[in-house]
């Protein structure tokens, strides 16, 4: 099962590599990982998406908690939560497909954040599945070519 693990840790030299190193050393899977300081600049919030059965997720949480720099670990997927991911997608544009691209952008509620002579850069913030569906739509249709995909990976907070 897919889990979103949220880790609050000391914003110190090497803290990110401790967590990443732990995952690789113990053979835990990382689907995505995001990290940035919180409003308290001495703390960082790291959000990791990982796959595993209950026993593996339990070990991931316990092993991560054991790291000396880690203040708190929680499994967001164990409760109601909000998750978001940011996508920047660059596609090719020609006069012939411009209308179709505009329609897709409209339907998915995304924004064009950069335009050049023959490219659009599209921005979408949403759940991982939403981001997947936009990319899929471009991949499946003949409307346009995807030139580049950059996504941040999931971040999230518990609800309420």
């Amino acid at each position: 099962m897919r889990h979103i693990i949220s880790v609050l840790l000391e914003n110190e030299f090497g803290a990110l590599s401790r967590v990443a190193g732990l995952f690789s050393a113990r053979g835990f899977n990382i689907e995505s990982l995001t990290v940035a300081p919180t409003n308290d600049p001495t703390l960082s919030r790291m959000t990791i998406v990982s796959m595993g059965d209950d026993a593996i997720i339990e070990q991931i949480i316990k092993q991560t908690n054991k790291l000396v720099d880690v203040v708190k670990v929680s499994d967001l997927t164990a409760e109601k939560h909000i998750e978001r991911e940011l996508l920047l997608l660059k596609v090719s544009v020609e006069p012939s497909n411009q209308a179709d691209i505009d329609r897709i952008i409209d339907e998915h509620g995304c924004k064009i954040v950069d335009v050049s002579e023959n490219t659009y850069t599209i921005e979408l913030a949403g759940q991982g599945a939403h981001v997947d569906s936009l990319i899929e739509e471009f991949e499946k249709s003949d409307v346009s070519n995807i030139l580049e995909v950059a996504r941040t990976g999931v971040t999230g907070v518990s609800q309420g």
């Binding site: 090497g14 190193g21 026993a55 070990q59 092993q63 054991k66 000396v68 880690v70 203040v71």
Partner: protein, 577 residues
Amino acid sequence: MELNGAEIIVQSLQKEGVDHIFGYPGGAVLHIYDALEAQDEILHVLVRHEQGAAHAADGYARASGKPGVVLVTSGPGITNAVTGIATAFMDSIPMVVISGQVPSPLIGNDAFQEVDAVGITRSCVKHNFLIKDINDITSVIKKAFHIATTGRPGPVLIDIPKDVTIARIKEPKFPEKVHMRSYNPQVIAGANSIEKAVSLITTAKQPIIYSGGGTVIGNAHNELREFVNILGFPITQTLMGLGAFPATNELSLGMLGMHGTYEANMAMHDSDCVIAVGARFDDRVTAALDKFCPNAKIIHMDIDPSSISKNVPVDVAIVGDVKQTLQELNKALKGKTTFDISPWWKQINDWRKVDSLAYKKKAGVIKPQTVIEALYEVTNGKAIVTSDVGQHQMWAAQYYQFDEPRLWINSGGLGTMGFGLPAAMGAKLARPDLDVACVTGEGSIQMMLQELSTMLQYHTPVKIVNLNNRYLGMVRQWQEFFYEKRYAMSYMDALPDFVKLAQSYGHEGILIEKESDLMPGLKEAFAMKDKTVFLDILTDQTENVFPMIPSGAGHNEMLLGGRDEMKSTNDEGLNLV
């Protein structure tokens, strides 16, 4: 008063009560050595190889219960120490390692003797630090000792660039206390879990206490003894736990696991209530997990939450300091009645009659088991015994009856050949009042031989008991059983004359080729109180360690020496180590 970084480091170590440092100098730590030279509170032991420094500090820590301290230079200094750090990490031994680093402005430039020490050691330390600012030295050292010695202990590395040791500040502040919001190990067990444990314990019909290294590290031997005596339950101990409960006590079933006794393993298999005390369900202990304790409810006491249900799911988890947990349990159990377990004891005593540690003597050959029995006799079971890794390690664990904790010192987790000799040196420095023996083999001893030189310099008399069978015995045993006797690279040809070798280092050497010379030789060696004596004992070349649970088998599928034909293991078993 103005101090430089090196002086602040040395003063910090003094304030932590450090009396021994094991180390080796080099460019990046020269300022620290200069500061060490100017004081006489701390004795620096100059080893001959940095791996030896880490093992010696480790042996010192295991024998004394105090953290071991290591000082090495950058680059090869710290990489050489890594095996010793990993050894301490796997066995949860408190240790603080200070490594020099190239000057801050050169970090990342591939400078002379530069390695990323923090990166290299990350996965084999409890925590590590890189000090970038002289103002952080005192608080980092305070934190390092706190982390190394609390919770589940372990090694902590502090990497210090040379310029930080040279910089000067006025009036450095030495903190009295440590506060870390991210590190607060749970020490007090939850009352709820204690209650649940008591209810399982008092209704058990076939209980067994399975106790591990945590009882030694956690200084919980008195509480463990009280616990066992209140209940009258059988107890088996892991390789790391030996001595916490006396081996000669009638409630003790000996060691369990791959080379454990028949009665211990059978009792584990048939038990309805396994009480794990400071043990971690390691693969050497559990044997095949799918066949492990099929009918048992399991209670697990451990300071480390990540040990709970890691290998084996448990019914009651008690997270906390093992000493305090046992105190709580003992309080809760007093006056409570338990089941009459005399039928269980009858069954166990029947298993005991199998006498699984019996072995056949052969005329003209010294059996390695006999050597350990003789060592036990000569030392009255009161010596510290360190070991290296292999067959001799198992025989020492099986045939030396440890009645007190911190007498048995071996590398159980990492299985590091070369550990025994430097660990014996460290143990002797920690406990000069006790005899120290290093049980080793001709393979292991050659991995750290150079420390014989250190042992002369610092007057650490140790008796080296070399079970010399001219084979890498454990490798040979597995090749005999599982590789159709194809003995690839397991014979040690071109061995040195160990007696002359010891003599050339300024020690004594005794060659023993006949069993009749064994007791006199050992007595002679231990009579030389102030001498390190190398006993080179030529033992049976083809003896195997029994009993044995082959890989992939369960606790109730043991093989007994001389009685069972070794069945070749299945493919699944061969995959295991």
